[in-house]
């Protein structure tokens, strides 16, 4: 029942395995289960009371609920997940280079100083093809990257500065007016609109992540002779991915909720389906669709917490608490003073005769 061990001597694979076990234990720990049970009971009670007083029709809910996700393929839940996951992945792939460009803008127009390699000399040295690649490539690179930076910045500001609602309609009419009518056209509109949107936000997330990696780390990597690409792949990227896990998770959650807007153009995702069946029972429909979003998002945020815990660098930062620690203030790490444990827990443990509170040393 330990967190990821912070002692030395732990291989990474071992750490990941232990963190996985920890996450499972944490999820199915009686404390978290009891909390979940309480939450479910409260929701059920509220629904029950509302049902008894005639505010909502419980029988309607019970009979229609499965239609949100059965059969799964092409169900509203499935469509919502597709509308979120594909744009998110596209966003990830496109936003990394965009964030990189934005993070390292200042090094674009800064020469290294000293002499510059002339094309003539490079030809002598490496032969014409490589010389052209090196000299012309460098100049061309700068000639392209600087305007590209302007474009990326404009794009990010444009996306962040306009409502998704507006962006979606824009994409909708561009696609509808230019593509022939075909199946899945509205789904395509939704995916394109959400992808364009999340690219803008993720680019900023990555920019922040890249810029947060210390200059000293990069200098050290260069000092052993690494190329820019190697430095990025082995230092900047792994360190910044840890930093952006949480904001990226937020972005995914935000995207799932934004996908509700796509219901307006007729994609039968969760919100659209709720509208559909809700004509006679609006309250029931919105309760049901709320629960559906929660059912996706709550486990997802658990996964994010798990990822953060697995990828945490031992000894750096504050460890993410387990659910039990968060809710009850129990420290299960070795050597924790007993005073940090709540009275109830101490009594329970004393009663059970456990020796967890003693220093194992």
């Amino acid at each position: 029942m330990n967190l990821i061990p912070t002692q030395q001597g732990q291989q990474t694979s071992d750490r990941i395995r232990r963190a996985g076990v920890q996450a499972l234990r944490d999820t199915f720990h009686w404390r978290s289960l009891s909390i979940a049970t309480i939450a479910v009971v409260v929701v059920a009670l509220v629904i029950g009371v509302m049902g008894l007083t005639g505010i909502i029709d419980v029988r309607f809910m019970l009979t229609r609920w499965p239609e949100f996700f059965v059969p799964f393929v092409d169900s509203p839940l499935y469509l919502s997940l597709v509308l979120t996951t594909i744009p998110f992945l596209i966003g990830f792939v496109v936003a990394v280079p965009m964030g990189l460009l934005r993070a390292y803008r200042s090094s674009l127009n800064r020469g290294r100083g000293g002499e510059v390699l002339t094309l003539a000399r490079a030809k002598e040295l490496f032969g014409t093809p490589r010389a052209v690649m090196r000299v012309v490539g460098r100049r061309l690179g700068r000639a392209i990257l600087l305007p590209l930076y302007g474009f990326v910045t404009g794009y990010v500001e444009g996306i962040r500065g306009t409502p998704f609602f507006v962006q979606m309609w824009l994409v909708y009419f561009v696609i509808i007016n230019n593509l022939p009518r075909q199946a899945r056209l509205f789904e395509l509109v939704g995916i394109v609109a959400l992808a364009l949107n999340t690219i803008g936000y993720q680019a900023e997330v990555f920019r922040a992540g890249f810029q947060s990696v210390g200059q000293g780390q990069i200098e050290a990597a260069k000092s052993v002779g690494m190329h820019g690409r190697t430095v990025f792949l082995h230092i900047t990227l792994p360190q910044s991915l840890r930093l952006v896990t949480l904001p990226l998770g937020n972005e995914w959650i935000g995207l799932l909720k934004a996908s509700a807007i796509v219901s307006i153009i007729g994609v039968n995702e969760l919100q659209h389906f709720a509208n559909d069946i809700g004509s006679g029972h609006p309250v029931e429909a919105f309760v049901m669709v709320s629960v559906m979003y929660l059912v996706v998002i709550v486990p997802l945020s658990r996964v994010i917490t798990y990822l953060e815990r697995v990828r945490r660098i031992p000894g750096l930062g504050t460890p993410t608490p387990t659910t039990a620690e968060r809710m009850f203030g129990v420290r299960r790490r070795s050597g924790a003073p007993a005073a940090q444990v709540g009275t109830l827990t101490r009594l329970r443990l004393a009663w059970k005769g456990r020796d967890r509170l003693r220093d194992p040393a």
Partner: protein
Amino acid sequence: MIRADGIHKWFGELHVLRGIGMEVTKGEVSCIIGPSGSGKSTFLRCLNLLVFPDQGDIYLEGVRITSPEVRPEWVRQQIGMVFQSFNLFTHLTALRNVTLGLTKVRRMDSEAAGKKARWELERVGLGDKVDAYPAQLSGGQQQRVAIARALAMDPKVMLFDEPTSALDPEFIHEVLDVMTKLADEGMTMVVVTHEMGFAKKVADDVTFLDQGQIVERGPPSEIFEGPKQERTKAFVSRILG
């Protein structure tokens, strides 16, 4: 081994280095001292091209490394550098800190790299800390891992940028011990330091730098006990207290 010739560097309007020339021969330990802001660190960074000089040339074993024909990555492979703030890769264990350069730059297979890295860590007295992450190590241990990381690349020259300035007093000696051992083994070293004891004992010569210029250069006994220049006198008397 390494020679700098009339190095100038500007940071915007600021003229940081004003024509520094210096040579360190093979096996020599050369210390650079000077008040803060005198350009010591910048000069050291120029030597492995982390900062590219605006004017002047640097030669490594006769090769003009400031030439645009020379790739800085090739230069840095041959010059080890140790930083004031250690700069260990925070997301990697001590062992992986050392092996990364071997596998990614020198293209060693991971087994050979691991073996070499263990040996280098053993050499700085950290054979038992291979799996520790930097944040789990003391400052002195981190700096020794950093030294091992640089040494693993088999550098021809080692640059030390105030390697003990960020350390608690109790850890300074363990780093200096490693450096002394290294000097005894015949490593060519350029050391920016305020450790006068180390400079006196190990250095072959000491350079006093002020306002981007070399004020005085000579054997440690001369610089510390009988400096010729007024500025050197004032500085030395201040740090020797």
